[in-house]
């Protein structure tokens, strides 16, 4: 297990370096190849020439690429001082960039907003795993029944609805139409019940899409496994149906689901961004949206980087869980 853990940690460290390089490439190299003035896109397109020159100097855009990547990478661990254009700005570690537009370091924005996105994603994940997996298992056990058909029709609609449209429908029905919820985000520090009430609709909206997807896949996996010989053997030796399903079938159903969960974490961030936008939650998604509107590239860069890192860490956790559930994985 220890060897497996060390191997995974090493792989994660390599991925971290790769992610930083890819993100750097997207924001610095691609615009350069495409012939866009990077300094201009970092200050906003209406900035005066002096400010643009200052930013060019501050970011060291004239330096060789490897030096730029190094400065960027070093900033994350040691902080960074941007000097140029007659002034100098210090960005404390961990420096995930500096917005020359709002004249603020990006990191505080990220730490302010990350908990909202995390709470949204985690709450939705709990909901969808519970409801999606149990709906899928029930459908598989009662294959062809009214329940099965109904659940699969709902699931198919669920995967075909854009998440923000579901959110807008939920808002207009439950908040505006039936007046069941407030529809306002309340910070957790202010009131737990207010926060919880405000998060229910976003959780359900985000969970609906994934619950639908997981129900479909759980059903298919379960059906396949129920046809396996070892299930017949388990039944033949007189085990209770409960044990056959709960112990033998479920364990094999869970492994592919866990692999999927690891792969979906990245996509989940995308879903969370869209959900936040529909419900005006002050999370990372809203930060990205504002940054797009204000052409504030450093914020987009920071959010992309921090969420990639979050996904990396979450994947590490899933990998470890995976090894716990399925011992074969450790040896692979």
């Amino acid at each position: 297990m220890l060897a497996y853990l060390i191997r995974r940690l090493f792989a994660a460290a390599v991925m971290l370096v790769v992610i930083v390089m890819v993100v750097f490439g997207i924001f610095f190299l691609i615009p350069k190849w495409a012939g866009v003035d990077i300094a201009l896109s970092f200050v906003g397109k209406q900035a005066d020439p002096a400010a643009v020159e200052g930013v060019r100097e501050k970011l060291g855009l004239g330096d060789p690429i490897y030096a730029q990547v190094w400065e960027f990478f070093k900033g994350i661990f040691a902080g960074r001082t941007y000097t140029g254009g007659g002034d100098s700005i210090h960005c404390a570690a961990p420096c995930f960039g500096y917005s020359f537009r709002s004249e603020q370091a990006v990191w505080p924005t990220l730490t302010d907003r990350f908990p909202v996105t995390l709470a949204l994603a985690l709450g939705a994940a709990v909901l969808w795993l519970i409801f999606g997996v149990s709906a899928g298992v029930l459908s598989a056990l009662k294959r062809g029944s009214l329940w099965d058909r109904g659940a699969m029709v709902i699931a198919l609609s669920g995967v075909s609805l854009p998440i923000y449209f579901t959110g807008m429908l939920a808002l207009s029905v439950f908040v505006y139409g039936l007046d069941l919820f407030d529809g306002q985000f309340v910070p957790l520090e202010d009131s737990f019940s207010g926060w919880f009430g405000g998060m229910i609709l976003p959780w359900v909206t985000l969970a609906f899409l994934y619950a639908a997807m997981y129900a479909r896949i759980t059903r298919a996996t379960m059906l396949e496994i129920l046809g396996e010989d070892y299930i017949r053997t388990a039944r033949a030796k007189g085990l209770k149906e409960q044990t056959v399903i709960g112990k033998h079938a479920m364990r094999s159903t869970m492994t592919p689901l866990l692999t999927m969960l690891g792969m979906d974490l990245g996509a989940l961030i995308g879903g969370a961004i869209l959900t936040e936008t529909a419900f005006s939650l002050p999370g990372l998604g809203q930060a990205v949206l504002n940054a797009i509107k204000n052409q504030d590239l450093p914020v987009i860069l920071g959010v992309t980087l921090i969420t990639s890192l979050a996904v990396l860490v979450a994947n590490l956790v899933v990998d470890i869980l995976y090894a716990v559930i399925d011992p074969r994985v450790r040896l692979a």
Binding site: S160, G270, L274
Partner: protein, 335 residues
């Protein structure tokens, strides 16, 4: 990408009775049937899939003929009808968001553009980006998947690591990042055309690992089959085996994944336009209509329902059709 693709789910397989009838009819006429023929016979019996397929066809026709249809209706997607707007609230006068004989699905708040005309034009963007980005993904995924599966070794390790990495990334964010650093005009394109071009490339780029994984897995198992060995022992070259022995057997999974990828790509395009990095106004797109409708979900729900339902029907039709194609082509379904 908010709705990632997964392994095909082997549900809704033709029932045992249907299978038996296929088997007996096959036995009566003792002649080889191509995979396409078998698949078509199965597909014909799958009513849901056929419905999906017909809706998809209709959508394509509607998208292609959007200018004709709108001019027949006497509407233009960019024409303002401010006389139909309540000056006090900015919402359309009349019931259901200004539905009338002239404006069958109502008009937009504030400037009163015809919603039907805009939805029709929006279909063009959605389908164009959905199809072409799938083509990009299929080409990249097939080539790299075959390379990885066929050559193995370090080529396989490298391609597989890249695929794993891409699949785990927060793709939507990377797509947003890429689209937002792209210039406003390139290769002679301007305005919305640039965005459409960039979206096709970027969505396609992030989609290839889904196809690549499947193609790699299939290639890995196919290259060990007896018929490949037979070909090899007869002295067939690598290229011959690749194109004559492997590729024909990869067509089925590639077709399945392509049909399943199109709806995902349509959703991604809509999401990007919803977030404001997609096509630029005044070009109509469903995602962008929804994003402006967000301010009117209380006062003018019709404005949000029309593009939302358009996306829903399109994606649902593709999903139904894709499920049907998968069941028809999946060799496992004949168990």
């Amino acid at each position: 990408m908010t709705a990632p693709l997964h392994e095909p789910t082997a549900e809704a397989a033709p029932s045992a009775a249907e299978e038996a009838s296929v088997a007996t009819s096959g036995a009566k006429a003792v002649q080889g049937r191509s995979l396409g023929r078998i698949a078509w016979e199965r597909l014909k019996r799958d009513k849901l899939a056929l419905t999906g397929g017909i809706v998809v066809l209709l959508l394509v026709v509607v998208a292609l003929l959007a200018p004709v249809i709108t001019s027949l209706l006497g509407q233009d997607p960019n024409e303002y009808h401010e006389n139909l707007i309540d000056p006090l609230f900015g919402t359309p006068t009349g019931s259901l968001g200004g539905v009338s004989g002239d404006h069958l699905l109502g008009v937009e708040p504030v400037n009163g553009r015809d919603i039907l005309a805009r939805v029709l034009y929006g279909a063009r963007i959605s389908l164009l980006v959905g199809f072409l980005s799938a083509v990009v993904a299929v080409i990249l995924g097939t080539v790299l998947g075959i390379l990885a599966g066929f050559f193995g070794g370090w080529v396989d390790s490298l391609i597989s690591r890249v695929m794993d990495g891409l699949l785990a990334f927060p793709q939507l964010l990377f797509i947003i990042a890429l689209v937002s650093v792209m210039p406003n005009d390139m290769l002679g394109l301007t305005g919305s055309n640039v965005r459409v071009f960039v979206m096709i490339l970027v969505i396609g780029f992030f989609g290839w690992p889904y196809i690549g994984r499947v193609v790699r897995g299939q290639t890995l198992s196919l290259r060990e089959r007896e018929y490949v060995e037979a070909a090899r022992s007869l002295g067939a070259g690598r290229l011959y085996i690749l194109f004559k022995e492997l590729l024909p057997n990869l067509v089925a999974p590639i077709v399945v994944y392509t049909t399943m990828m199109i709806p995902t790509n349509i959703l991604t395009e809509a999401a990007l336009s919803f977030l404001g990095v997609g096509v630029k106004p005044p070009t109509a797109s469903w995602g962008q209509m929804l994003s402006s409708a967000i301010d009117y979900y209380e006062s003018d729900p019709m404005y949000m329902v029309v593009p939302g339902v358009a996306i829903f029907i399109t994606v649902l039709a593709f999903n139904l059709f894709g499920d049907g194609i998968r069941d028809a082509l999946d060799p496992k379904a004949s168990r």
